[in-house]
Symmetry: C2
Subunit: 368 residues, 2 copies
Amino acid sequence: MSQLQYKVLFQSGNSRIGELETAHGRFETPVFMPVGTQATVKSLMPDHVRDTGSKILLCNAYHLFLRPGPDIVKAAGGLHKFMNWPGAILTDSGGFQIMSLGHMVSISDEEAVFRSHIDGSLIKFSPEESIQVQVALGADIIMCLDHLTGWPMSFDAAKEAMHRTLLWARRSRQLEISPHQSLFGIVQGSIYPQLRKQCALELAAMDFPGYALGGLSVGERKKEFYDIMHYTCEFLPADKPRYLMGVGHPVDLIEGVMAGVDMFDCVLPTRNARHGRAFTFDGPLNLKNARFAAEFAPIEEGCDCKACQGFSRAYIRHLFSAKESLAWTLVSIHNIWFFQRLMDRIRQCVIDGTLERLREQIEALYPI
Amino acid sequence: MSQLQYKVLFQSGNSRIGELETAHGRFETPVFMPVGTQATVKSLMPDHVRDTGSKILLCNAYHLFLRPGPDIVKAAGGLHKFMNWPGAILTDSGGFQIMSLGHMVSISDEEAVFRSHIDGSLIKFSPEESIQVQVALGADIIMCLDHLTGWPMSFDAAKEAMHRTLLWARRSRQLEISPHQSLFGIVQGSIYPQLRKQCALELAAMDFPGYALGGLSVGERKKEFYDIMHYTCEFLPADKPRYLMGVGHPVDLIEGVMAGVDMFDCVLPTRNARHGRAFTFDGPLNLKNARFAAEFAPIEEGCDCKACQGFSRAYIRHLFSAKESLAWTLVSIHNIWFFQRLMDRIRQCVIDGTLERLREQIEALYPI
């Protein structure tokens, strides 16, 4: 098995059902990728993640570059073996983390220079190094290093970042990667249609096996986010997968599919879980709440996840009160299960032509 | 299935192989019970615990009395259902925790008065209440509330505590408990042979279905601990199980079996795990150590536990560095596995007559 294979199986409006085949498994799109930043989906064994129906994870090249280091992961036999995850993996290049976690010192066409969020050491990171790191990690899908457009950002600053992102993408595209790997380009351009369009078209001309939308849902209003997402997708090749980075909220997933997005990742299911916040198809629950102290129903009636099959709201509430980490594990299992079942529903609704109705139902429960 | 059934299957010196049958399963003794203080073995799913071959857990009536409260657990259908553990459970009465965690206000023949370690509230706890709590929790084996002898303790103080323990045991023995439950008496008396003997004999006269040795390994020298343990066992009925509370170290388990002990519990495998300390049959490892950063072997070569079957020392060391809770989970699985395999070896050595040799081997690896 070599590079990524993608085919569209069904299309309705801009929404599509597709199939992605990687060296580590085949799955339907639109797909949700749980986040395993540091080579572990927080508080979960790989079996737990697999049991939710997850087929592909996101790990973070920035974090793994700093710790344990790409050489360690490579010597372990690559990321799949290191973390004991048999499915597919996508690594984020680190562009977002350099901006959000690292203390940026300078950025030039050559490279980004920043201070590590772990020990404050000065680190230079070029697009070439990002690819080297990701080749060492060995994920199935790897990302070009991008210059992230934060929020708010002036047109001129966004334009400069977009051009640098294109420059870096062009250099990255020339580099050798492993035969089983596929490199995606990332569209930047903040909320400026002209910049997004130019970036999308120039990346498309470089003929990447997939394209990501970066720098969205970073603080802009939902309408701005949705509008620019829809607009950007128009300029991305129809025969390649599209990945909306770091998103998101249940309604965002539906809106993304309506725009023609095929791949999503977000920390929401696992991060919320650690704060006691569970997703259900009857709306959210805060399991730390005292009202659950004597509720012996599962998180969600009828749910087949391992948490709902064995444990009550009262028990989970007790675990949170007692500061027991099993609380995180159980709610994370349930929340990832919820996200995967939401994706099941989304795919079914694309086929049935009822995605608009699902959007209304979900938005009523999870207002944006 | 009603009360506990115990039979000795084989005896060699004071060591014995037995079988304990409870309403929640049958198992061989000597047995090691992992500790699930707050109705969860820390960082583990019940499946993980079961997969180590564990058949019986210890939970703590003091902790569960304070949080979530016995009414909640009872309304949940009892502790087995609450925590989703199908095997047997023993609950400790709380004597030890009142002394070690609570802020003791006063103790009389009537009751102990202490301040909760959670919120400082003033709590009165009598032997009758301890039994009530344990009946509500519904464990298979429950313990009389005892007046723990700390360390160091004068003969007179130990004598008073021993007499109070006997008084409380006598009152507890009269109380009604659930048909599937069995109540054990606890021998106190510090390191004073005369007190231990009197306590053991008087408890034996009350005809409990099992007997525990309490107040040992609380600070006294190993020789004092071992001597008084051997001495005390002589006065306990041969046809009833003997339980050494809160112990312990691998060598303590072997020494306990040599003295005729049948049951053990200890937080060592899980507590050490959370500090990165793994038990192996080649000696202990501290997995936080930098020397494991690029060691791609499992914690223990040839080990069949779920941690060793899928994860390397390097990965676990990374998880500790990155402060990921999966580190605790993996080492806890391995350490409980180690304790259960040690118990397998101990039982086999009792049968083979080679327990002394095992003791030497284990003591060479785990000096006392």
